[in-house]
Amino acid sequence: MASKKMADGGLPVIARFEVRHRNYLAPDGSINRPLPAFASDANLVTALYRAMLLLRNFDRKAVALQRTGRLGTYAVSLGQEAVSVGVASAMREEDVLLPSYRDNGALIWRGVKLEEILLFWGGDERGNQFSGPVQDFPFCVPVGSQAPHAAGVAYAFKLRKQPRVAVCMFGDGATSKGDVYEAMNFAGVHKLPVVFVATNNQWAISVPLRLQTGCETLAQKAVAAGFIGEQVDGSDVVAMRAAAEDAIAAAREGRGPRFIEAVTYRLGDHTTSDDALRYRSADEVQARWKEEPIARLRNYLVSQKMWSKAEEERLAAECHERVEAAVERYLATEPRRPETMFDHLYAELPETYAAQRRQLAGEGDA
């Protein structure tokens, strides 16, 4: 256990903080400690399972599309599916999600269509005009820069006395950004209804956690913002959902913000542009496969008699079908015409730029 001592140990202690760790399912799916009630709700838990498996299938297909030139850079969730699915499953429709680029799982849970996600990664802004909750934020690419937005959204909830929660997701790398710190500090001042979730997948591209921070846990980042941080086994979807439920409930009830560190592992490359073997060994990755969330949950489900081989097969077929159908719709999307790049620049296109739009449309030169 981490515990820093002062030089002059005799000085009086005026504040104490602690970080707790949450885990229910062991890597083999066995039960480590008393489960939350929802864990015996077969419908719910299998829904989590289905979502994770769909995500894994979708990721695989997306990479294939990228490799064959039909999609741009893509970021898989391999190994960390439990985080985005667990968190999203604890949200209400009227809550607002502020995801990072790797939180596909959360968007899909909240109703964004697979083809919309493909459109985004295919380099088309219309992917962000999605079918998810209309106030949800699009993927955020500049790491951590959505955290202040989350605080702003939560401030609006509070001002309007709406019982809603903003949920902001980012990676371990993002915890090094001042943006995240400033947002968390502000949330702490006003006890805003916001939950920050850091997916600690051990890597920010090639930078390992120990070069990202000198902290023993990321959960302790919350201490500097004056609220509670909890470390959760991010490969245990039961723990993720339970932790998110607690945090979101607390936020909704006006008990202030929370921070969740979801400890997991990125089994895949950073994105399709990355080759992780440059900076980490196949052995390291191999070892982490033991902890991955999908087999873990399947083992649990099977042990609880909530899941059968037949269901597994049906699900596999279903996922395949859903993904293929989405890909078809994606590939069939009409391209945007070049001049539409002016259409949502301002609410109304200033006359000054109208000539440029015409030029792009081939209707004259400017």
Partner: protein
């Protein structure tokens, strides 16, 4: 109509906007009980409460990012940055988010926010309190950049900025915050955001400026008039997107143009206007397009700052030169 200073007009517009629309929220450092270091928000917290007039922690990136988040919820945040020298931490949010939300989501989420900040040198304040880097902002597509030069325009343009459905950076000329006085009617009427103001008509030479420098520019026009030179003075007011038509129209008429700004010369916004003219009004030109600007160096601290800024003399000289050119 009551006579008031420019900063009082800002205050009046803020109060009016907050009164008219409960979604308007004011936030920034010291904007609450202190009323802002320039008193632009004085009285607002007492009137509208600490939730709508919010003292933020000392973090400019945060202020701009909060505005983006609030705006996405349909609030109309008006953030204050204490001095333009402290605006730079907001640039990331302005370029990467505020200006892009509408486009990125194809209209699903928008960003009706205003970021206000004092602009320019001349009050003998410490370093970083004398910035005029409007050119950096005016290069950002999706943003509007506005700078008033009188109490009346401060009132009308700020109302317009707050009502505008897109993000606006509103620069307030520090040097004339109190020096500029004028009558302002609190009629709730906004001024247009894409129209330049012709402050004075003339046929001999076009003087274009914005913000506090219009003081010197108008004085130069007076001096020129005494000489028989009729200068047309244009207050550009909105720098992004700017009113090209008024500029081109005036230059077509006068054939001579002097652009005046306080900002350092190279890559200043004056370059954009000169370029427009060189591209679209070349044949009307009777003389080179002159830029009278701050020098290409760092704004000096108080003792030398006045030497950095364009003087009436420098403007008059440039205009005369333009008129004598052949």
């Amino acid at each position: 109509m009551p006579e008031m200073t420019l900063v009082e007009a800002v205050n009046l517009a803020l109060a009016r906007a907050m009164e008219d629309d409960s979604d308007v929220v004011v936030l920034g450092e010291d904007v609450g009980i202190n009323g802002g270091v320039f008193r632009a928000t004085v009285g607002l917290q007492t009137r509208f409460g600490p939730e709508r007039v919010l003292d933020t922690p000392l973090a400019e990136l945060l202020i701009s990012g909060l505005c983006v988040g609030m705006a996405a919820q349909g609030l109309k945040p008006v953030g204050e940055i204490q001095f333009m020298g402290f605006l730079y931490p907001c640039i990331d949010q302005l370029v990467n988010h505020a200006s892009r939300f509408r486009n990125r989501t194809q209209g699903r989420l928008t960003c009706p926010m205003v970021l206000r900040t004092p602009h320019g040198a001349g009050i003998r304040a410490p370093e970083h309190h004398s910035e005029s880097t409007e050119a950096m902002l005016a290069h950002i597509p999706g943003l509007r950049v506005v700078i008033p030069s009188s109490p009346e325009r401060a009132y009308g343009l700020l109302l317009a900025a707050i009502r505008d459905p897109d993000p606006v950076v509103f620069l307030e000329p520090t040097r004339i915050y109190r020096a500029a006085k004028g009558e302002v009617e609190d009629n709730g009427e906004a001024l247009p955001l894409d129209v330049a103001f012709v402050l004075r008509e003339g046929r001999d030479v076009t003087l274009i400026s914005w913000g506090a420098m219009l003081k010197e520019t108008m004085a130069a026009a007076d001096a020129l008039a005494a000489d028989g030179v009729a200068a047309e003075v244009i207050d550009l007011a909105t720098l992004k997107p700017y009113d090209e038509a008024t500029v081109l129209g005036s230059v077509a008429k006068t054939g001579r143009c002097v652009i005046v700004h306080e900002a350092t010369r190279t890559g200043g916004f004056g370059a954009e206007i000169a370029a427009l003219i060189a591209e679209r009004a070349l044949t009307s030109l009777l003389a080179p397009v002159a830029r009278v600007t701050g020098y290409d160096t760092i704004v000096p601290m108080a003792r030398l700052e006045q030497h950095m800024m364009p003087s009436v003399d420098r403007i008059v000289t440039a205009a005369r030169k333009a008129c004598q050119f052949s």
